[in-house]
Structures are given as structure tokens and as C-alpha cells.
């Protein structure tokens, strides 16, 4: 019949119209500021710096090696190395970044900085509501804004963070073993030195005792 398709279509749209008032499942829209879509784990947008423990300054993993700064394709990272040193994540004395800025208006979210960082200290974040009144200063993130805790990292990328944590635990264990070995070696060395010194002093004593003999002979 003429117009059957049209009537069928009209019925379909009418069903959609009424259905959208009856069943909430039909509405796929998420009312953004109030509700948010669940984040998928692989989501990423801009990098942030991870710190361990509670103090962002002390726990910052970054050692200001500046590899990421050199590798970043659009050159949006700026780092200034500190003069002094502080212990890094594994307890080794290292430099730390006195300044660490990322201009996220330039960043292209390529994740290269994350790939190259040898210290697992820079990772990709998932926050997306970054709109700002000031498009220059407002989008230049400083160290204070970039530093986020390891717990936060664990919540946004659990699998990845667990691997990193395991790796760090291993490193720390190794470092501890090294420290212990070093301490033992030191102890041993000290003991050796002590015995050596003793032996030496004894020999010197003997020498000194023997000296006058030689001297006497001279």
C-alpha cells in the first residue's frame, strides 16, 4: 500500500518518543557534570608525576634526569635540576626536579615521556575537565599540580600500577640487600681492617721493638 513505510516509521519514532519517558535504559545520554561515564582502564590524556608516601616533595620519584624533556616531541616539558640531593624511591641519593612544568595546551598525549622514563615516575592521567579561563597560565601545570600519589595511580590504572609497584618492591629489596651486603662488607672490612691494624700494630710494635736492635746495629 502507498505510504505503508511512512506509517511504519512514524510508529517506530512514536514508540521511541514514548519509550524514552518510560524506560531509562533507552536514554544513552550521561548528564555530564552530575554523572560520569565509568572510566576504562586504558584511558589516558595528560602526564602526571607519581610520588610515594604522603609527602609530595619527599616522595617524588622523578630524579630530574631530563630524558622525558629531551624526548617529548612537542617539547612541552620543562625541568630544572636541583642543586642538592635527596633519596629517591629506592633510597639512593639523587637530584630532584626543582621545577617541573608541563604545558598541557601543547602536550599531544603521545605517552612518549612515560615510555622513556627509567624511574617509573611519570604516568598518564585521566582527568579531562581541565577547561580554564586562562588559556596560557591556566594550562601550564607546575610540579605541585602534577604530583599525585601512588594510591591515585593505583586507582586509575590498577594493573599497570601493580606491575610498577612489584618492580619497585624488587628494586627496594635489591637495594636493601645491597645495603646489607655493603654494610656487611663494611663490617667485614672494618673487622679486617681492625685485625689488619692490630696485626700491623703488632708488627710495628715488633718493628719498633726490633728497631733499636737494628739501630743499634747501625
Amino acid at each position: 500500500m502507498v505510504g505503508k513505510g511512512i506509517i511504519k516509521g512514524m510508529v517506530e519514532t512514536a514508540r521511541n518518543f514514548l519509550g524514552s519517558y518510560v524506560s531509562k535504559q533507552r536514554l544513552t545520554t550521561i548528564q555530564y557534570p552530575e554523572e560520569r561515564a565509568p572510566q576504562i582502564e586504558a584511558a589516558r590524556n595528560f602526564p602526571f608525576l607519581v610520588f610515594d608516601g604522603t609527602d609530595a616533595e619527599q616522595g617524588l620519584r622523578c630524579v630530574a634526569c631530563q630524558i622525558c624533556e629531551k624526548e617529548c616531541p612537542p617539547k612541552c616539558i620543562f625541568i630544572e635540576k636541583s642543586k642538592d640531593k635527596k633519596p629517591d624511591a629506592t633510597g639512593k641519593m639523587q637530584f630532584y626536579p626543582a621545577t617541573f612544568n608541563i604545558d598541557i595546551s601543547v602536550c599531544m598525549s603521545c605517552q612518549i615521556c612515560v615510555e622513556v622514563c627509567p624511574f617509573d615516575s611519570i604516568k598518564m592521567d585521566v582527568v579531562y575537565d581541565l577547561s580554564n579561563n586562562d588559556r596560557f597560565a591556566g594550562l601550564l601545570l607546575h610540579k605541585q599540580q602534577l604530583a599525585k600519589s601512588n594510591e591515585y595511580y593505583n586507582t586509575i590504572h590498577p594493573t599497570e600500577a601493580a606491575a610498577v609497584d612489584a618492580h619497585f618492591a624488587e628494586e627496594r629489596a635489591k637495594a636493601a640487600a645491597r645495603v646489607k651486603a655493603a654494610a656487611e662488607a663494611k663490617l667485614a672490612a672494618e673487622a679486617k681492617a681492625a685485625t689488619d691494624a692490630k696485626a700491623k700494630s703488632e708488627t710495628t710494635l715488633a718493628d719498633t721493638q726490633a728497631q733499636p736492635v737494628g739501630g743499634g746495629t747501625r
Binding site: 511512512i6 512514524m10 519514532t13 518518543f17 536514554l27 544513552t28
Partner: protein, 394 residues
């Protein structure tokens, strides 16, 4: 009680007379017109605002979205936000454009759209001018809108505008023919070109049933044809070819921005309301109530109820049907609409000269239904699906 209801029905007329009583008799006709014009402008601009939000919400719901729901309760203040936005936007005129014509086009469009309301009876005794050639005036003013479209397309000096205007004008002129022919049946039957007497003729009842022209075979066919042509005339989906986003951007108003752009929208919607109101006047009994026992409800209420129903149907159709192709559009106009309207004229003549009864219904009904089916069958069969041959690309 009856007197009170009558007063409610005539409240605008009474108020008008009361206000004019304070003026010297010389200026009374002028002031009366100005008052009525102001009222019409405000009412239909408001209706435009309501329609935009209804349309956006309705389309949203049809597509399982929310539609605007932020500004005001349920998003109903959205038109105010839209208005402020379009008022504060920069008004860009292309450098090579003809500035005067470019400026005049949207103004003319809106003016022409509003001028059509002069002959539309909004309620009992509520009409600006009861012209004895009202229907003719209405269609004459309607063709002014084509001029505005042409001015907009030509003065912009842009290929998209020009092509859009060309499409729009081709479409509007093609559909003007069935539009006028579909309304002629009513003029034949009522023997008058005055909108008031056409409505008066329909506002009578047999039992509880009104004598609307839509309740006759030729009236129903005429109404359907009129509405299809009106959809095309006001560039509404599925005939919204003048604005193909992927091909010619926004058509003839591509080069418009800011409030002039909004004026085009206003003009288009006002024109759509005007043609819908004309359809109501011609076929749906104007301001008359659908049942004799409902006549106590004020006449303007019925007019706006009918208008809103038609607007909602327009929105529904827009949410359903995809856009036609240019050749389909033209074929529909010249190969289906035109023969159907001409046959409908014949049907109306037969109806007029046959004695009332079931036989008249049967014959006239057959005269409408059979050609409709045959014509659409014929159109379908002519379509041969085959691999298309391109003349130049091989």
C-alpha cells in the same frame, strides 16, 4: 453563565473596543490595527520560541536523547538563551556581498511571513482584515518569501548560497502549484475567497459533528495534498533540500550570521505556522470546535490547539523521514501532486452536483483513492534499478 462565556470568547475584541473608547474617533481604525498587529507579532513570536524548544525536545526524545534540559525548568527557557546568544554574536557580511540586499533579505522574509497573518481568522471576530479575496492575498504574500530567498542567495556572492537559493526556489515554485490547486476545492465548495466566510461555513453542526471540509473525500485528499505541499513550501523535513549540510551547508543563508541567521529561522517558522493556519482555516474549520457540545470553549483556544497539533505532527514527521533527493522531490510535485490535485478538483465538482447520500460518498471516495493508488504504482514501476552508467568517468 452563557453571557460570561461569550465574553470570554470575545475578550480580546471587547478589550480592544474598551481601549479604543479612550481615543478620538479619527485615529481609532489605525490604533485598532496597530494593537492587533502588535498582538499577532507577540503571540506568534512566542509560539516560535515555544516551537523551537518543543522541536528540540521532541526530536531528542525520538532519538532517545534528553534534548535541552538545562536552562530553566525542563529547559523551557532555552529560547531566551538562544536569543541572547544570537543577538550578541558578531554579524559578518561577506566583503563582495551586496550589502543592502543582503540586509534586506531576512527582513523581507520575516515581514512577508507576518503579513500573511492579516487574513487568518484566529478566533471568532478576530481577524485583522476581512478581505473578500483573502485566500488570494495569502498566496500572493506567500510568494514574496521566494523573493526573499532569492535575494539572500544572490546577494551573498557565494556558490553555496546561490545553489541553495536555486534549489529552494525551484522547490517552492513547484510546490506552489499543488498548494494553490489543493485549496481551490474549498473555494469551489464555499463559493468565496474570504477566509471568514469559509470558516463560518464550516462552523455549523449536524448533530454533534461539524461540517469541516476535511470530512469529505475531496476535503480529506485536499488536506493531505495541501499539507504535503505546505511542508515543501516551508522547507521542512523531508523536503529540506535547500539546506543539505553535506552539500551546500545551510543553503541560501550560508553567509548569514548572528541575528540575521535567527531571523531566517523566525521567518521560516512563522511561514510554516501561516500555512498551517491556512490549512486549518480551509479544511479544519478554523476556530470552530470539533464537537457541537464543546463550543463553549473560546474560539481562539481551538485555533491554537489545532495549530499546535499540526506543529507537533510536523516535528514528528521531521524526526521520522529522511531527506528526499532533488529528482524525487520534483517527480513528486509534478507527477503525483499535480495530477492528484487536478483530479481532486473534478471530485469536488462531482460531489457538488450529486445528491447527498452514500452513493456520493462511494463515487467520490473511489475517485480519490483509485487514482492515488494507480499513480503511486505507476511511479514505482517506472523505476528500473540497474548499474548506473557514467558518461564521462569511464
Amino acid at each position: 453563565m452563557n453571557l460570561k462565556l461569550d465574553q470570554l470568547d470575545q475578550i480580546f475584541v471587547i478589550l480592544n473596543n474598551w481601549l479604543l473608547g479612550y481615543l478620538p474617533p479619527v485615529v481609532r481604525p489605525l490604533c485598532s490595527s496597530i494593537l492587533a498587529i502588535a498582538l499577532i507579532l507577540v503571540t506568534f513570536a512566542l509560539l516560535f520560541a515555544i516551537t523551537t524548544v518543543l522541536e528540540r525536545k521532541g526530536l531528542g526524545r525520538i532519538q532517545n536523547r534528553f534534548g535541552p534540559n538545562r536552562v530553566g525548568p525542563c529547559g523551557f527557557l532555552q529560547p531566551i538563551a538562544d536569543g541572547i546568544k544570537s543577538l550578541t554574536k558578531e554579524d559578518i557580511v561577506p566583503n563582495p556581498a551586496d550589502h543592502v540586499v543582503h540586509f534586506l533579505a531576512p527582513v523581507l522574509l520575516v515581514a512577508a511571513a507576518f503579513m500573511a497573518y492579516a487574513v487568518l481568522p484566529i478566533g471568532r471576530n478576530m481577524i485583522l482584515v476581512d478581505m473578500n479575496a483573502g485566500v488570494l492575498y495569502f498566496f500572493a504574500i506567500g510568494s514574496l518569501m521566494e523573493l526573499a530567498v532569492f535575494m539572500a542567495g544572490w546577494s551573498s556572492r557565494s556558490k553555496y548560497s546561490l545553489l541553495g537559493a536555486m534549489r529552494a526556489i525551484a522547490q517552492m515554485i513547484s510546490y506552489e502549484v499543488p498548494l494553490v490547486l489543493a485549496s481551490i476545492v474549498v473555494i469551489m465548495q464555499s463559493g468565496s475567497l474570504s477566509t471568514v466566510s469559509i470558516v463560518n461555513m464550516q462552523a455549523t453542526y449536524t448533530g454533534i459533528w461539524p461540517h469541516w471540509f476535511v470530512f469529505t473525500p475531496w476535503g480529506f485528499a485536499g488536506f493531505a495534498l495541501f499539507m504535503i505541499a505546505a511542508t515543501a513550501e516551508s522547507n521542512r523535513s523531508p523536503f529540506d533540500l535547500p539546506e543539505g549540510e553535506s552539500e551546500i551547508i545551510a543553503g541560501y543563508y550560508t553567509e548569514y550570521s548572528g541575528f540575521k541567521f535567527a531571523l531566517f529561522f523566525l521567518g521560516e517558522y512563522i511561514g510554516m505556522f501561516a500555512t498551517s493556519a491556512m490549512a486549518i482555516t480551509l479544511f479544519l474549520g478554523g476556530w470552530s470546535a470539533p464537537f457541537s457540545f464543546l463550543t463553549w470553549i473560546p474560539s481562539y483556544f481551538w485555533f491554537f490547539a489545532k495549530l499546535l497539533t499540526i506543529i507537533l505532527t510536523f516535528i514528528w514527521v521531521r524526526g521520522t523521514l529522511p531527506r528526499l533527493r532533488m529528482d524525487q522531490l520534483m517527480n513528486l510535485a509534478w507527477e503525483f501532486m499535480l495530477p492528484m490535485t487536478l483530479l481532486n478538483l473534478l471530485t469536488a465538482g462531482v460531489w457538488h452536483f450529486m445528491p447527498a447520500g452514500a452513493l456520493r460518498w462511494l463515487i467520490c471516495g473511489a475517485m480519490v483513492v483509485v487514482p492515488c493508488i494507480l499513480l503511486s504504482r505507476g511511479l514505482k514501476q517506472r523505476k528500473k534499478f540497474q548499474v548506473r552508467k557514467y558518461r564521462f568517468s569511464e
